[in-house]
């Protein structure tokens, strides 16, 4: 935890000592009353928090210092994976920095995965917050898991696409890729809006590929070696972020 993140308004009331953040402040950061640490408000400013009182409840005062920069204009479309894969992916993609993560139903995605308690209990948000805290950022990506690939593509491409429309569209594919992702992304400085699509663990089906191509996606590869889905997402985001450097 490189940053202790609080929800807006949460610091108006004392923080129970059993809260994992309270434990982190006391035991890892070893802060005593009067000490400060780096903190932030979810989707709000970064700043300093001061521990005023410690006991069964922690009283904290927060002083905002700056707004973090906007998230990179990257949307991920991901075929609904196993919940454990989704947990790692939510955390790591948030750390690397994306604006939006849409988990979508595809031909070969197991529809039962959408019924996981990861989604219904709101647990997914915990992994996103952990990813943002790791990155020292307060901004969270938008996350959804109710779209089909077709409805997500219609939203990307349709007349109401708004900020989500346009830009580069690349889908990772181990079988029918026409170029390496690094080449498709272009050289340094070619930043701009980007949608990256990943099949679920079992990969894309023929109808998925047809829908992606019809929506203007080029199929790209990350090389001959077959990567786990979460490794492929991290590798692709590393290449996409390097364009800005």
């Amino acid at each position: 935890m490189n940053l202790v993140l609080f929800e807006a308004g949460e610091l108006d009331a004392p923080l129970p000592a059993a809260d994992p953040r309270a434990q982190h402040i006391l035991k890892v950061l070893r802060r005593a009353p009067g000490d400060s640490f780096v903190a932030g408000i979810v989707d709000g400013p970064l700043g300093q928090a001061t521990l005023l009182e410690a006991g069964e409840m922690l009283r904290l005062a927060f002083s905002p210092t700056r707004e973090p920069p906007p998230l990179p204009p990257i949307t991920l479309l991901v075929g609904l994976p196993r919940p454990q894969t989704a947990r790692d992916l939510l955390r790591d993609a948030t750390t690397l920095g994306v604006e939006c993560i849409q988990f979508v139903a595809t031909e070969r995605a197991d529809p039962n995965y959408a019924a996981s308690t990861l989604w219904s209990s709101g647990e997914w948000r915990r992994h996103v917050i952990a990813g943002a805290a790791q990155a020292c950022d307060t901004r969270l990506p938008r996350v959804s898991w109710t779209h089909t690939l077709a409805s997500a593509l219609a939203e990307c491409a349709g007349p109401r696409a708004g900020a989500g429309g346009g830009g580069m569209r690349l889908a990772l594919d181990n079988y029918e890729a026409s170029a390496p992702l690094s080449r498709a992304l272009g050289g340094a400085g070619s930043s701009g809006r980007l949608v990256l699509a990943f099949g679920p663990e079992r990969g894309w089906g023929a109808a998925d590929r047809a829908a992606l191509r019809a929506a203007g996606f080029a199929l790209c590869s990350l090389g001959e070696r077959v990567l786990r889905l979460e490794t492929a997402v991290t590798a692709a985001l590393a290449l996409a972020r390097a364009r800005e450097e």
Copy 2:
């Protein structure tokens, strides 16, 4: 498991049905006697295995078809991390493809980590084999965990460096980097021998940085966002591999 890997000589005897690979062959691949599947011999050829008999023991026949290409000429030096971080890193770095992974003692690495049963029990090799099977490769990186940073650097740089000597040397650093890793790696086609060094979770100390610089390492960054060690390794390897494309 995209490839079922066997140790050299292991197929001379029947495989117990309780072996995880036997379970994978029968339950995931759903092979029956007479059926074939993709298999390989560790550090040897890829080929087809045929299930001859299934029961309490599986009898298999292996036909080699081809040798996999050599591993990319990349060495990782990694400050000894927590065992759970090392597990993920061993698997994912092997999947992405490296020749050598040296876990080294650094100023801020916890020396207790070298005493983990991950190393003493040989468990580490299981994660490397899982990473190679994921990549559909039979070749395993060399792995060590007994060097200090100083002794590893002396081996990289010394007169006995052999195939490990020379090439590009880059260390990832969140604090004193002089260039983004992508720029330091150079453009497409700039392949060749590469040593990538990563501090442990707590980062490099001042003496570590001095030793790295004296050994010809340039300090590079993966951007403003602070990544977990295992995410940084995957991101850096994605950029290094893209040079070849």
